[in-house]
Amino acid sequence: MTVNRRIRVYLLEAHYQFIDVLREPLFSISVLAFPLVFYLFFGVILNFGGTSMPMQTYMLATYGVFGILGPALFNFGVGLATERDTGMLLLKQTTPMPVGAYFSAKVTTALIFGATVVSALFLIAAYAAGVALFRWQWFALAGVLLAGVVPFCTLGLAIGAWVKGRSAVAIVNLIFLPMSMLSGLWIPIYVFSDFMQNMALVLPAYHHAQLALKVIGMDSGQPILLHVIVLVGQTFIFLIVAALGFRRVGGFSIRKS
């Protein structure tokens, strides 16, 4: 396959996967609206007074993580499981489509949705909640948030490789919502008991949120390297889990129940 054709396949695959997801109103609305509404409600309207930190700034970082986590988990976890069960993946596998095009299209789609949520959150934070940061902080926060697509997409991949299409939504929600809560994405992590704060150390969303909070100087004070190492390590673990899942069902084939 020539380089030019390869680029075109990668582009069109991403283009159409994005349009496909965009036209799914339930996905677009829930993935975009949840973090924005939650942020408006908990970060702006119900602003906890008297604490030592401006909550609207703190929650900008954590709801940013929430906004990245959603599309990555759902697009990969649910999308992959459904498309394997309908047989679409198998059909595409029989064509010359490079497998990488399919996955990079999924990552791109998650990235576009994530960037949309992040921009909207930034605008609300800036113009409704009066948050101001240094310019480098705005850029660094956006960069750290978007980079979260990588570990979260691999987590979605690991889920999608193992579950059936019909149960995928339920299972992804069972991971998505509790993990968001326990990682301190909705309520600041420091209000939890020490035990729960220690439990959060195993959650990728916790480490990603701490990196985002680091940018605005509101993290729990653990070293950056710790968070990066955990996230990179978990990314590899998720990839291995996904590979095992694919091997179990023999590639992309339709799983017969």
Binding site: V9, Y16, M88, L91, T94, P96, S253
Partner: protein, 300 residues
């Protein structure tokens, strides 16, 4: 029945050579040989679970070969050059439902080096009027015609059709048959529907429990399932009526006498006359499955 002339390699586009395939402990293919020759439509006929889809997926490179060898265009079935020259219609329940028919076809066309024009694909599959509709909103028959267009996107030299009309109503089935018939392309058609191979195939192999049990033209295969199947509990023995006009075969299965005949009315009258104690009489169409079972019984 197993004998067939060996063909020179140029005329064979795809070949399974003594392929055995297991899913865990389940044997799906048992030493299966299969050749697809240039220009023919090969029907692969068999009841559900016979191993047809396994054979197709091996020919497509979707399954790893466990035993035996598989080649397409003289190469590994998963090779990129092979993928670019073939098309496949699989038992797939859906593609991107929120994309229009045209968008789906454009996407699949982009995978191939020299795809057919989208307009040509739409007209060949008879779906011009559906091109702007979302795939998810189409009926089953319309969806299958879109799948058919996708299978043709590569302008294939070899086309795989795995149960192309399963689940379609009679109208939709005949429309799709008409469209397939207009093609002049080498094709492998797997189906459990005898009428389908009769309508489309030049040559048929019948597989059952992963083994090839018959090979011939559609009419030869069809003769095995001609007529009606008469079953009853009676004292009459099979040998007494094998010479009766219209009888194709007769045998005992369990308590029942089973007779396949083209003249069921005459046979029933005769059977009733021979044995007044005859009970449990049924007359039914010969389904493929029982015909295949009889074929398996025949071969030692």
């Amino acid at each position: 029945m197993e004998n067939q002339p060996t063909h020179s390699d140029e005329s064979v586009l795809a070949r399974l050579s003594s392929v055995t395939h297991h899913y865990g402990s389940i044997l799906a293919l048992d030493e299966l040989d299969l050749e697809v020759r240039q220009g023919e439509v090969l029907g692969v006929l068999g009841p559900n679970g016979a191993g047809k889809t396994t054979a197709i997926n091996l020919l497509l490179g979707n399954l790893r070969v466990q035993q035996g060898s598989v080649s397409v265009f003289g190469q590994d079935p998963g090779a990129m050059q092979v993928r670019e020259r073939r098309g496949a219609m699989l038992q797939v329940s859906g593609i991107s439902g929120n994309l229009t028919v045209r968008e789906n076809i454009e996407l699949f066309s982009s995978y191939y080096p020299a795809p057919l024009a989208v307009a040509k694909l739409l007209s060949t599959a008879g779906i011009e009027d559906l091109s702007e509709r979302r795939f998810g909103k189409l009926s089953g028959g319309q969806k299958q015609r879109v799948m058919f267009a996708l299978a043709l996107a590569s302008d294939p030299e070899l086309l795989f059709l795995d149960e192309p009309t399963t689940g379609l109503d009679v109208d939709a089935r005949h429309r799709l048959w008409d469209e397939i018939r207009t093609l002049e392309v080498t094709a492998v058609l797997s189906t459990h529907n005898l009428a389908e191979v009769d309508a489309l195939a030049d040559r048929v192999i019948v597989i059952h429990h992963g083994q090839r049990i018959a090979d011939g033209t559609p009419s030869e295969i069809k003769s095995h399932v001609a007529g009606r199947l008469v079953r009853c509990v009676t004292s009459t023995l099979p040998d007494e009526i094998t010479q009766f006009p219209g009888v194709i075969q007769a045998k005992v299965r369990g308590r029942h006498l089973e007779v396949q005949t083209t003249l069921p009315e005459d046979l029933v009258r005769d059977l009733l006359a021979r044995d007044e104690d005859l009970v449990d009489l049924t007359v039914e169409a010969v389904d493929l499955e029982s015909a295949f079972l009889s074929l398996t019984k025949e071969s030692p």
